[in-house]
């Protein structure tokens, strides 16, 4: 095929556009100077400063805990929702359900944040729960939108899944719960991992919704970063950004590697079965 230079050029531009800013940020995190745009030599001192910043560390720890709880519960809820959408055909209220599952994906964050806060205030007035706002309210708000993302990931996996093994197990007398635990879960495991990681990152990343539903004593990492970034560029934030980006990259690489390995294994299994049958 003839090389299409126009296509190659625009693709190169697109990928450069995506990656150059992050790479620059990483390079300048090792800059000696406090001035972000002047290169004054290599130094890792901003990483040291970051490690001594107690406010930042406290916020990071809080964000981490929220993200773990959020990811775990959202994965459960999202999986249930995806099962209902893919497996149960038509049921009463399905249209509303699918609406509730896709709207959080596009809803502007300021609206979701304000709405969640007003709900928590109203609930506190009526029921006395949740008392004040903080980790609990942030976690609940995060689970709500993370569930929608997990449901998307799992729906596509469940749709693409070969159901013959499940059917075989049922025919051999296994009960639905057992089939689900022993067959469905292992088959959709890569999607579960992807969904968990996705909701973990979404939660770790959220500034707007957390700002609305947090209390005075609870600042998440993005909130601390935002208030510092508002004042301008700082090398300490560059160091933090580098750590976050590298962690995310490593996590994704591991998840991707696991998924391809699993896919290959199941492909081999199918091929083997086909050979035996044919």
């Amino acid at each position: 095929m003839r090389r299409n230079w126009f296509l190659l050029l625009t693709m190169g531009f697109g990928f450069a556009f995506l990656y150059v800013p992050i790479l620059l940020l990483m390079i300048y995190s090792f800059n000696e100077s406090r001035l972000v745009t002047v290169w004054a030599g290599f130094s890792a001192k901003w990483y040291g400063a970051l490690l001594r910043d107690e406010q930042m560390l406290g916020a990071a720890w809080m964000s981490f805990r929220i993200a773990v709880v959020n990811a775990s519960l959202a994965t459960i809820l999202g999986t249930l929702a995806a099962l209902a959408m893919v497996r149960f055909g038509r049921f009463r209220g399905r249209t509303l359900f699918s609406g509730m599952l896709s709207a959080p994906l596009v809803m502007p964050e300021v609206i979701t944040g304000l709405a969640s806060l007003l709900l928590f205030v109203a609930l506190e007035q009526l029921l006395g729960w949740p008392q004040g706002r903080g980790m609990t309210t942030i976690t609940i708000a995060h689970i709500t939108f993370s569930t929608a993302y997990v449901a998307v990931v799992l729906q596509s996996r469940l749709q693409g899944m070969d159901r013959s093994i499940e059917e075989a197990a049922m025919d051999l007398g296994a009960r639905p719960a057992k089939v689900f635990l022993l067959i469905t879960i292992p088959v959709i495991a890569p999607a579960l991992v992807a969904g968990w990681l996705l909701s973990f990152t979404l939660s770790l990343d959220d500034l707007v919704i957390a700002s609305f539903v947090s209390g005075p004593a609870s600042s998440t990492l993005p909130m601390v970063v935002f208030s510092s970034v508002r004042l301008g560029v700082s090398p300490e934030i560059n160091a933090l950004a580098t750590i976050l980006v590298l962690t995310a990259t490593v996590a994704i690489l591991i998840a991707g590697w696991m998924m391809t390995r699993q896919e290959r294994a199941s492909q081999k299994l199918t091929e083997k079965r086909e050979q035996q049958m044919g």
Binding site: T37, L77, Q159, R175, A177, L207
Partner: protein, 330 residues
């Protein structure tokens, strides 16, 4: 898709209701799961989303009709009992009237729509060739390229916007580079203008544009293009008459995924824009955090939602259609 039973295998049978030697609690549990499992699977996420996603919007609507007062909570009740124990319903339309009368709100709404619209077009212009190129790439590189598109989405949104602050500001990296190469001799002012906001939005939402486009372009039947080529159609014409029309669903889905969240974007105009790039998300934020006027903030949110109802419906329609198509295929 049931496989033929292997010769000699026991005839296919449904599980018997009671197995000998089974503990009573297990039988009870099994019966529960069989009868109510389905309902439970639907009900748990359903109730959660109703309670924490739908109900909040009803409350926003309610409070948008309340009036501001000093106290906790900072709004008046709509329904209360008068001294004669009559139920009284007070709907204050003042928030909406205030919003329509004050030019600032109308300008902010129009500004948001315009900025989101221009950014969506720019994202489409950059994202389409990328998606097309990825869909055409051989299988190995294609996986890597797709991975490279998705990866930024996994890194912090705030950090990615922040990265542009160091590049775009007056003495930032872009100006330093351009002056050093001699392209310009006066630093460009990008930071604080609408252009910075366009760049920020396109940069942050580009993966959302590329992925749906890639999904439709990848499914495209290559024999159509071959047929066109054999009949003497020029590549550009084949693209315009075959590829482009067939990728319309992807274009719409990607555009909605970029447009809808950008209308209410807060972080990007706050960090990259200036005082004149006033978008509605910022107005809502300020109304809530600076003025502490919850009723007006709620009215702003309701108006924003009304503006977005049509695009959100279109997006949901596409989602439903895709799900149906996927079901038919399987």
């Amino acid at each position: 898709m049931t496989a033929e039973p292997a010769p000699g295998a026991a005839p296919v049978s449904r599980p018997p209701e009671i197995l000998p030697g089974m503990a009573p609690w297990r039988m009870w549990l099994d019966a529960q799961i069989r009868h109510n499992g389905r309902r439970l699977v639907i009900l748990v996420p359903y109730v959660w989303l109703l309670l924490f996603f739908v109900l909040p919007f009803a409350i926003v609507l309610k409070i948008s009709f309340a009036e501001f007062r000093v106290g906790v909570p900072p709004y008046t009740a709509l329904i209360d009992f008068t001294q004669d124990a009559y139920l009284r319903l007070t709907l204050a339309l003042s928030n909406y009237k205030y919003m329509l009368d004050d030019e600032m709100y109308v300008i902010a709404y129009l500004n948001s729509l315009r900025i989101a619209g221009i950014s969506t077009v720019l994202a489409l212009l950059i994202g389409y060739p990328m998606a097309y190129g990825i869909a055409r790439a051989p299988k190995g590189p294609r996986t890597i390229l797709l991975f490279l598109v998705i990866l930024p989405f996994w890194t912090s949104f705030l950090i990615r916007v922040y990265a542009w602050m160091g590049i775009l500001k007056g003495n930032g990296l872009l100006n330093t580079f351009l002056i050093w190469t001699g392209v310009i001799d006066q630093p460009l002012t990008i930071m604080g203008t609408e252009w910075a906001v366009f760049i920020g939005i396109v940069y942050s939402y580009l993966p959302f544009m590329v992925l749906p486009l890639y999904a439709t372009l990848e499914k495209l039947d290559p024999s159509l293009l071959e047929a066109a080529h054999d009949l003497g159609c020029r590549p550009w014409k084949a693209f315009l008459t075959i590829t482009l029309p067939l990728s319309v669903p992807g274009i719409i889905a990607g555009s909605m995924l970029v447009f809808i969240p950008s209308v209410g974007e807060f972080v990007i105009p706050e960090l990259l824009g200036g005082a004149d790039t006033f978008m509605i998300g910022r107005v809502l934020w300020n109304e809530f955090f600076l003025n502490r006027d919850w009723p007006v903030a709620s009215a702003v949110a309701v108006a924003m939602l009304l503006m977005l109802v049509v695009p959100i419906m279109i997006f949901q329609n596409i989602q439903a259609k895709q799900a149906e198509a996927a079901e038919e295929r399987s």
